[in-house]
């Protein structure tokens, strides 16, 4: 929506409506909200179901259907009915994964995936996800009889920047202000109130309908950091149903079942699986045949599938550098963790009873609702520090102790910025990278976060080296700084947590100081900049006088020396304009001399070649 570049006036008094947490899942999506201090999921589909199947059907008449009704239309209109759209989020059309993900009619061209569907233009995964979010928003609004305008949406911990941005855009399309994207495992931990502790390590075991994810989280100062993730994007409860169906067909001796038979059997298998959570044996009846299935049978059939998750978990633990015994808790997420054999397996794997008393289908949405209410409850003052923005600018120290800001405060995370720096002296082979945080112009007034040296820069003249310094802040607020010399590729990197050890009060004080000292700071910065420039110019003038003394004419050395003295005097003072003027005067005083130096250099180059070469 273009507003022609005009500015909108926001009204803080306007009621904001309900805030919700949304679990935008591969198979199902849920929406929850906190009321009377407790998060609850909102009914969003037929029969007051809390789960909305993440299925979108595009009709020939241009109508859009979402949820159970769309899922029923999938068989008759498979290319017009998009299931599991989350798997396409942020992927490019030539991503080899894309083609594997189903039987869709992809529109050619463009650099985003687009599905050709009935009723009009091709749609992108963002638009399809937007339809799911819009359906959740509308149904929540019907439930509350009030507006829903702000949401926290969860994403898998492994989502990259493109996938996160795609999710944000989908929210915007649905008319939601996305307060924050929250990692799914973090949401589950919040639902269990684990952030109330001071620190700890947790595993989140998420076995859904079609995907498995394991995340190792580290809690420090009330903030969760994802230490490692692992998973299998083709392993879930649907595979359990398939295992039952296969064994039943085998026992019955059916070689090649019809698609209708398979569909019916899969539905029956699913019911049997669910019943076996409480019963020791169930009877599965499909087209006239009845067949008993015991829990022991079922557990034997799914054993290889469950064992697969174990290998993934062990790898994630290893990546995070923790032993199972060092964990402070294990959380179960996803409907398939209701299966008793899965619970037992997880308990054995991690050597502790997992947390599972919150409905594993709802736990992520409930945690997102808790986060949404936290983000909006604190009162919307300007200086309120939202968690998804950088509270203080991040930058680095440049010559003269000046702060060069790379990422301004209040940037939403994740974010990244890069700037090219160069060397200050001839033959300089190392560069100190000093990472600082704060709003003040001089490094001494800011907070020092980290320091490292990039060495191995090839020796060259001052100002010739190109060192790219890149700042990247991930969704958990972790800052990675990389410095890379561009001709050789030598690089150094460091990772820090800018929020570590900073209280809200300290952040506030740093902000207020920057306001109080703003004018002084800018003066000081301009002075430092001129002082650095003066130092550079003086050393260059010295060198030229020394190396090209023969080109000096009568009176010039005195005039240049006098101008240099004035620069030195001015640089020792406090007035940046005086330094600037003195530099200008020095430039004038030495102009004719430097022109002669240049001319001789050019003549030397030219006369070094024979005439024929030109």
């Amino acid at each position: 929506m273009s507003n022609n570049g005009y500015l909108q006036i926001h009204d803080p008094l306007k009621p904001k409506g309900h805030v919700v947490g949304i679990d935008l899942g591969t198979t199902h999506s849920l929406v929850a909200s906190v009321s009377q201090g407790k998060p609850r999921c909102v009914p969003v589909d037929e029969g007051d179901s809390l789960l909305l199947p993440s299925v979108v059907h595009y009709g020939k008449d241009g109508g859009v259907v979402v949820g159970v009704r769309a899922r029923k239309l999938a068989a008759e209109a498979p290319t017009d009915t998009i299931v599991s759209v989350k798997r396409f989020m942020g992927r490019s059309p030539d991503d080899p994964e894309t083609r594997k993900l189903g039987h869709y009619d992809f529109a050619p061209g463009a650099n985003v995936v687009r599905f050709n569907v009935a009723g009009g233009q091709p749609v992108t995964p963002i638009e399809v996800s937007g339809e799911i979010l819009r359906a959740l928003k509308r149904r929540a609004e019907a439930h509350f009889s009030g507006k829903v305008e702000q949401a926290v949406i969860t994403v898998p911990a492994y989502f990259d920047d493109a996938q996160r941005q795609a999710t944000r855009d989908a929210g915007k399309l649905a008319g939601l202000e996305v307060l924050r994207l929250l990692n799914e495992p973090t949401a589950a931990a919040l639902a269990y109130g684990l952030d109330k502790g001071s620190q700890g390590m947790f595993a989140v075991y998420d076995l859904g309908g079609g995907t498995f994810d394991i995340s190792i989280l580290k809690l420090e100062d009330g903030v969760f950091e994802v230490k490692s993730t692992g998973g299998d994007s083709a392993l879930g409860g649907d595979d359990f149903d398939r295992a039952i169906a296969q064994h039943v067909l085998q026992k019955r001796g059916v070689q090649s079942p019809t698609p209708a038979q398979v569909a019916e059997l899969m539905a029956a298998a699913r019911k049997a699986k669910e019943a076996l959570t409480d019963a020791a044996e169930v009877v599965l009846s499909v087209d006239g045949h009845s067949q008993p299935v015991s829990r022991a049978d079922f557990e034997a059939w799914i054993q290889p599938l469950v064992a697969k998750t174990g290998a993934v978990c062990r790898r994630a633990l290893k990546d995070a550098g923790v032993a199972a015994g060092e964990l402070d808790g294990v959380i179960l997420v996803g409907g398939s963790t209701r299966v008793p054999a899965v619970r037992r397996f997880v308990a054995e794997l991690f050597g502790r009873e997992p947390l599972g008393d919150i409905d594993p289908d709802q736990v992520v949405a409930l945690g997102a609702a808790v986060q949404a209410s936290l983000l909006t409850d604190t009162g919307r003052q300007d200086e309120v520090l939202l968690l998804d923005v950088i509270p203080l600018s991040l930058g680095l120290e440049t010559m003269g102790g000046i702060t060069e800001k790379l990422i301004p405060r209040n940037s939403t995370i994740p974010t990244a910025a890069a700037q090219v720096f160069t060397t200050f002296k001839d033959g300089q082979t190392g560069l100190d990278v000093h990472v600082v945080q704060g709003e003040r112009e001089l490094v001494q007034d800011n907070r020092s976060l980290a320091r490292f040296t990039l060495s191995g820069i090839p020796s060259m003249a001052a100002g010739m080296a190109r060192v790219e310094v890149r700042f990247q802040v991930d969704a958990d607020g972790i800052l990675s700084v990389t410095a890379k010399e561009q001709s050789t590729g030598v690089a150094q990197a460091i990772t820090v947590k800018p929020s570590h050890g900073l209280t809200d009060e300290e952040i506030e004080k740093m902000l207020l100081d920057s306001i109080d000292f703003a004018e002084d700071d800018i003066q000081a910065r301009q002075l430092r900049e001129q002082q650095v420039e003066a130092e550079r110019v003086l050393s260059e003038a010295d060198r030229q006088l020394r190396e090209n003394a023969g080109l000096l004419q009568a009176g010039e050395p005195e005039a240049i020396q006098a101008a240099m003295t004035r620069v030195r005097e001015a640089a020792a003072g406090k007035d940046y304009l005086a330094v600037k003027e003195a530099l200008h005067a020095l430039d004038e005083a030495s102009r004719a001399f430097i022109e002669r130096v240049m001319n001789r250099a050019i003549t030397q180059v030219v006369s070094g070649h024979s005439v024929e070469e030109y």
């Binding site: 507003n3 022609n4 570049g5 005009y6 500015l7 909108q8 006036i9 926001h10 009204d11 803080p12 008094l13 300007d382 950088i390 600018s393 120290e397 440049t398 010559m399 003269g400 102790g401 060069e404 990422i407 301004p408 405060r409 209040n410 940037s411 939403t412 700037q419 090219v420 720096f421 160069t422 060397t423 200050f424 002296k425 033959g427 300089q428 082979t429 190392g430 560069l431 100190d432 990278v433 000093h434 709003e439 040296t453 060495s455 100002g463 060192v467 310094v469 306001i515 109080d516 703003a518 004018e519 800018i522 301009q526 900049e529 001129q530 650095v532 420039e533 940046y576 304009l577 600037k580």
Partner: protein, 127 residues
Amino acid sequence: MNEQAQTTQAPQTPPKPAPKGIGLADSAVARLKQLLEERQTPDAGLRIAVKGGGCSGLQYSMEWSEKSRERDKVFERDGVRVFVDPKSYLYLIGTELVFEQTLMASGFKLNNPNVKAACGCGESFSV
């Protein structure tokens, strides 16, 4: 030999002495009066701020504010007040708020002499 990084950007020329304060064009005063009347808060002011973010690094924000805060700079014309926090003011010195109306659209614009680069969205700029 290690030295601090040196920015490759040319040394910044000092900002030209711009007219101080924040100006309100006639068009802006008239429109703001009308909006305040509609909002039934004739004593409220317009808070203009500069925040990080947006495609060119900094971003304007405007919102109604019932009263000024302690450190605010307050500008007034014909009873319409504008509040600016001191840090934002540094980026806004000499700016004039105008209200434009054409056949196609209408809205507020900030003519900011400090801006070096702006982007298409109109809300974001760098200095």
